[in-house]
């Protein structure tokens, strides 16, 4: 499989990270966003990343310059139609995504693979916007934050995705240093489903809103379990509201199966606007 030209749509944290990772491989990247400010922020991020990477790897000035120039920051109107791979990383809004996929389907050459970095919507559902001819080339490619660092890419095949394509992508990502994992189209895919209990169970062990308990549980899970972060400090970092929203969405998607039920403390903290580090208070208080 050859991936020489990639379009990433959405220049937020995930889109920028994905775009930079492809560029670091020498792949030509076009990064699109409707907001010029967002594109400017993405450009700064990618430029800083490239300089850091160049220093770390002792790249000379001309090579560094060519890596900087390999990413173009463009508007939607400037998009080409000959990409090998298009990755959508825009806001998690089903209708907006579907409308974008319809447009991409019409614009891109028939061989272009179109992928979504969604963490919440079924690939089949989004694929409704894609023509029957394209459906075999449509799938989920779920990267993890920060995309250049985290090695996992979940490769999510819909019922129509060409199995050979999924397999080729698996080997391509593996050959580029990522750790791919095949996954069936299902709520939360692998990680966002299996990881729910890393939060849900400690919340039930703590049961009450008590920082001492959170601290002890975090400490034990790091020391005994070997986890890099405890669940409460991680929820504070991710955003208590974001984590609660993912919990609710997986729970709803599994018809309110009790294995995924949110905990009352999550709702309480969200109501009290204790959203974690970003509001300087969550499960913990921050200065």
């Amino acid at each position: 499989m050859n991936i020489n030209k990639v379009l990433v749509i959405g220049a937020g944290t995930m889109g920028s990270g994905i775009a930079w990772w492809f560029s670091s491989l020498g792949v030509q990247v076009h990064l699109v966003d409707a907001s010029p400010d967002q594109l400017e922020r993405a450009k700064k991020y990618c430029t800083d990343q490239t300089y850091r990477w160049a220093t770390k790897n002792n790249l000379d000035q001309s090579l560094t310059q060519s890596l900087l120039e390999i990413i173009s920051y463009i508007s939607k109107e400037e998009m080409d139609n000959d990409y090998d791979l298009v990755i959508e990383a825009i806001i998690e809004n089903l209708e907006v995504k579907k409308s974008l996929f319809k447009e991409l389907d019409q614009k891109m050459k028939p061989e272009t693979v179109i992928a979504s970095n969604t963490s919440s919507f079924p690939i089949d559902l989004m694929g409704e916007a894609i023509s029957n001819e394209r459906k075999k080339n449509f799938l989920g490619l779920h990267f993890f934050n920060p995309a250049p660092v985290m090695k996992l890419v979940e490769i999510i095949s819909s019922t129509h995705t060409d199995k050979t394509l999924a397999e080729d992508l698996y080997h391509w990502f593996e050959s580029k240093g990522k750790v791919p994992a095949h996954c069936k189209d299902s709520p939360g895919f692998i990680v966002n489903r299996v990881a729910r209990n890393f939060y849900g169970e400690p919340l039930r062990i703590a049961e009450t809103d008590d920082e001492k308990k959170f601290k002890e549980i975090d400490q034990v899970l790091k020391e005994v379990g070997g986890f890099r972060m405890g669940p409460f400090e991680l929820m504070d970092l991710i955003g208590v509201d974001v984590n609660y929203s993912v919990t609710c969405s997986v729970w709803e998607a599994y018809n309110k199966n009790p294995r995924f039920a949110p905990h009352h403390l999550q709702e309480k903290l969200v109501k009290e606007k204790r959203l974690g580090r970003k509001t300087k208070k969550g499960f913990y208080q921050y200065e």
């Binding site: 750790v179 095949h182 069936k184 692998i190 489903r193 209990n197 890393f198 034990v220 020391e223 294995r259």
Partner: protein, 174 residues
Amino acid sequence: MNNIYMDDVIINFGFASKEEKKKLLKENPDKSIYMDLTCYDPQEFYNEFPNLKGIFSALFADEAKRIEIHFKEDNPLVLEHLVSLGYQPIKTTFTSCGFIFPRTISQIINEAYYALEEGIATKEDINRAMKFGVNYPKGPFEWSQGKEEYVKTLLLELHQLTKDDRYIPNKALL
């Protein structure tokens, strides 16, 4: 299950049925007993047996042998003995069923089995996803290897205790 006898103290290790654990406590009312209670409700045992002086959770210990301990009555000799066996005891104030790590990891393992049953991904891909997507030190199936009986027992105990169906073990564990 095996026991170490030290004067008036018994340290009980290993997996056994709840009845066997209780039998040891019943038959030794004059001994101070420190027991591995990874899979059962400590409160039930503490309430029923005054001679139970401390509990610990060694069944899920990995290579580093870090274990949670809760001693109602401090006993430096017991602590020393655990250390001499290579354990690194971490004190906890919690006496919840399954302690902290065994309970949390058992639920992660259980969900991984449900995902496997539904054909979401292979064991290998689930292990890889959790290690490289969220930096878990091990994949759920690597953690559960050889410990399936403990996971099942703990989840059944939690289910009985809480009546919450979230703890129903996947059939592959039964």
